[in-house]
């Protein structure tokens, strides 16, 4: 900036302010408030290290933990008695166990989307939400994994699903989508855990260097593997992180595609459709963003993280939810179209049965209300920019996505090809307690995570600060404007003289 320039040409000054305002609108700052490397570090790590555990943490954790005991009890009863305590039976052999499995695994997808796909697309706003979104992925996958495992009826023999040489001479059938699921979900859980942990290493080193308590210091030191922020280490670290993002992207798309193969590879009317993989993936991201919003709206209030999880973040997430929600609505429309266009009597019957002739018609319309109608509010700025509405719509969408799986699974199965085998399905108390229990388990893990690990990636937020740019190499916008200004002055001077 040239000294005394502003007074000389107020018009240019105003023009520059306008440019800055436009820049702010196109690229809103991802960190608000006056922050330095030190304040960012302290603010995020103090939640773990210094600040007294807030009272609401104990309340929330307590409630979640008690509900998690419901899961423990249900599993104990289930394992000692058998899966007959659930409501699924022929012809609805898959019910709550698969509904909840698909629901939970779908929720996980948003975490990987945020951490991997948005990294590849260079979306800076992922930086402050990726850590807990990835944690959410891990915990959601842990909840998801329990359902098929327990649905086997003999979970202690679950290792039979893994290929190992055994005296029974028994091998798995790799032509089955259920076997693909084993590989997809276990790979997904492993890679998500690796990705999350690699992202944590530099922040664990920060905690190690800042912790006063020697025990915590030791634990964080052990977990950070002696990270010291060396330039050579960062170089390889960044390559590894980017490659992990690169391979997680096809992974996350494949996982829900394979989950949808469980259905679409079969012949059941309502399942056998080519739209399933993209429609399931979009639904997964839709549900996942709803869960990210459900978690981050209270989190930014309770832990005063509004500088890092800004209003802009919420608006962006709202927009992603709207976009993926519309893809899901397109999927609903295509399901109907496929049913009609197939001209197969079973498909046409299934559509009619699902929408108005069958006993579960209400679930279909509730689903359309939750997933189709509610998100239309997000077209409007007023709803998109209101935390309250975003939170409410997210809860409605989570319910809607659960109903979607209910509709797909139960309405397709309960009346299939043979009218003599038609039957009704209703969940038992233990179906509900199992589902509720996983919610408790999920939130217990979330509460522990918030207490013991940095909820926002500290080192990545540091890179968002203007101070993080090395000057003299690539110009930032302000420098460019200044140069243009100087050119203008020279021109003006030329005219005058």
């Amino acid at each position: 900036m040239v000294a005394g320039f502003d007074e000389r040409n107020p018009e240019l000054k105003r023009a520059m302010e306008d440019i800055k305002e436009i820049q702010r609108k196109i690229y809103p700052p991802m960190v608000e408030g006056e922050h330095t490397f030190a304040t960012v570090t302290d603010k995020i790590s103090d939640v773990t290290l210094k600040r007294k555990t807030p009272f609401h943490w104990f309340i929330g954790f307590g409630i979640a933990f008690i509900i998690a005991q419901v899961l423990l009890f249900t599993i104990m009863y289930l394992v000692t008695t058998g899966i007959g305590i659930w409501g699924n039976n022929q012809p609805v052999g898959w019910a709550f166990d698969i509904i909840n499995f698909v629901w939970w695994i779908g929720i996980g997808h948003a975490g990987t989307l945020i951490s991997a796909i948005l990294l590849l697309l260079n979306q800076k706003w992922r930086t402050s939400i990726n850590r807990f979104a990835e944690a959410m992925t891990l915990f959601a996958v842990a909840c998801a994994g329990m359902f098929p495992l327990l649905h086997t009826g003999r979970p202690w023999l679950a290792y039979w699903m893994l290929p190992y040489p055994n005296t029974m001479g028994m091998w798995q059938n790799y032509r089955s989508p259920l076997m693909w699921d084993v590989f997809a979900v276990s790979t997904y859980a492993t890679v998500s855990a690796l990705f999350w942990y690699v992202g944590l290493i530099p922040d664990l080193a920060t905690l190690r260097d800042r912790a006063k308590n020697p025990y915590f210091r030791f634990i964080y030191a052990a977990l950070s593997w002696g990270w010291r922020g060396s330039a050579r280490h960062w170089h390889r670290y960044e390559i590894a992180y980017l490659l992990l993002a690169g391979i997680s992207t096809p992974l996350v798309l494949s996982v829900h595609s394979i989950v949808s193969f469980d259905f679409s590879v079969s012949q059941v009317p309502g399942w056998h459709a080519t739209i399933f993989p993209p429609y399931f993936v979009a639904g997964a991201i839709f549900a996942g963003f709803a869960m990210v919003l459900i978690l981050c709206i209270p989190l930014r209030h309770w832990y005063r993280m509004k500088d890092f999880i800004t209003h802009t973040h919420l608006v962006y997430m709202g927009k992603v939810m709207l976009a993926t929600g519309l893809i899901v609505c397109y999927g609903y429309a295509m399901e109907l179209f496929f049913g009609w266009y197939s001209a197969a009597q079973y498909e046409v019957f299934m559509i009619k049965n699902r929408i108005w002739e069958g006993p579960y018609w209400w679930s279909y319309w509730l689903l359309i209300l939750c997933n189709g109608m509610s998100i239309q509010l997000l077209w409007f700025k007023r709803f998109r920019e209101s935390e309250f509405w975003l939170f409410l719509i997210s809860i409605v969408v989570s319910i809607g996505m659960w109903l979607e799986r209910f509709v797909i699974i139960v309405t397709s199965l309960h009346r299939d090809f043979l009218p003599s085998s038609w039957a009704m399905y209703s969940p038992t108390m233990f179906d509900w307690s199992m589902f509720l229990g996983t919610l408790g388990f999920f939130f217990t893990l979330i509460y522990l995570f918030v207490r013991f690990l940095p909820i926002i990636s500290i080192f990545e937020v540091r890179t968002l600060l203007p101070d993080a740019n090395v000057h003299g190499h690539h110009q930032d916008f302000e420098e460019m404007v200044n140069e243009v200004e100087i050119e203008h002055i020279d021109k003006d001077k030329g005219k005058v003289s």
């Binding site: 091998w171 330039a231 050579r232 960062w234 090395v470």
Partner: protein, 177 residues
């Protein structure tokens, strides 16, 4: 001096200062150098003359091994060890074998990416002389450090220290072994 010196370390306040200093250190002919920052700095690679890591090739290799392992496993199970016709498909039904092979490709590549990175970085390494500098704890918070090791060919305690002080650091520390 009783204590053995591992090297000399200079502290800087901003990444720009660190990169400028690193460039001067490289131009002065020092080879055994390192920089420490609280977040990745892309400019430092060129400034310190860090060569591109071979990690991407290892990860690619991991992916190829994963793919072959996946296809090999399924071939072994369905063609060699226990050939059984399921659903009227050929013994080696490639389309159906793609999902597990695909997932194993990703799994192996991810393992190589993470553990390869840690291995090449020499981690876990609980002890390192740089931790002996008390102010170094700030390298994970806000400060930037530049290190010249005593092993360097043109290292000379007095000379190097004088040179480092000419780089405008906040302070220059002796790093004890």
């Amino acid at each position: 001096m009783d204590k053995k010196i591992y090297g000399l370390m200079a502290e800087f306040d901003t990444p720009t200062e660190l990169v400028d200093a690193a460039r001067q250190v490289r131009d002065a002919g020092y080879k055994k150098t390192d920089a420490f920052s609280p977040f990745p700095l892309h400019e430092i690679d060129e400034a310190l003359g860090i060569r591109r890591s071979i990690l991407p090739f290892l990860v690619f290799g991991g992916g190829v091994v994963g793919l072959l392992a996946g296809l090999g496993l399924q071939w072994f199970v369905h063609v060699w060890d226990y050939p059984l016709i399921v659903g009227g498909r050929p013994h080696f039904s490639l389309p159906a074998f793609i999902p597990p092979a695909y997932e194993l490709t990703i799994l192996f590549a991810a393992f190589v990416a993470v553990f390869g990175m840690l291995f090449l970085n020499g981690l876990p390494q609980p002890y390192h002389p740089v931790f002996n500098v008390e102010r170094f704890a700030l390298a994970t918070r806000e400060k930037f450090f530049l290190l010249i090791e005593a092993k360097d060919e043109i290292y000379d305690y007095e000379e190097t220290r004088k040179f480092m002080e000419s780089l405008n650091p906040q302070e220059v520390f002796d790093v004890e072994e």
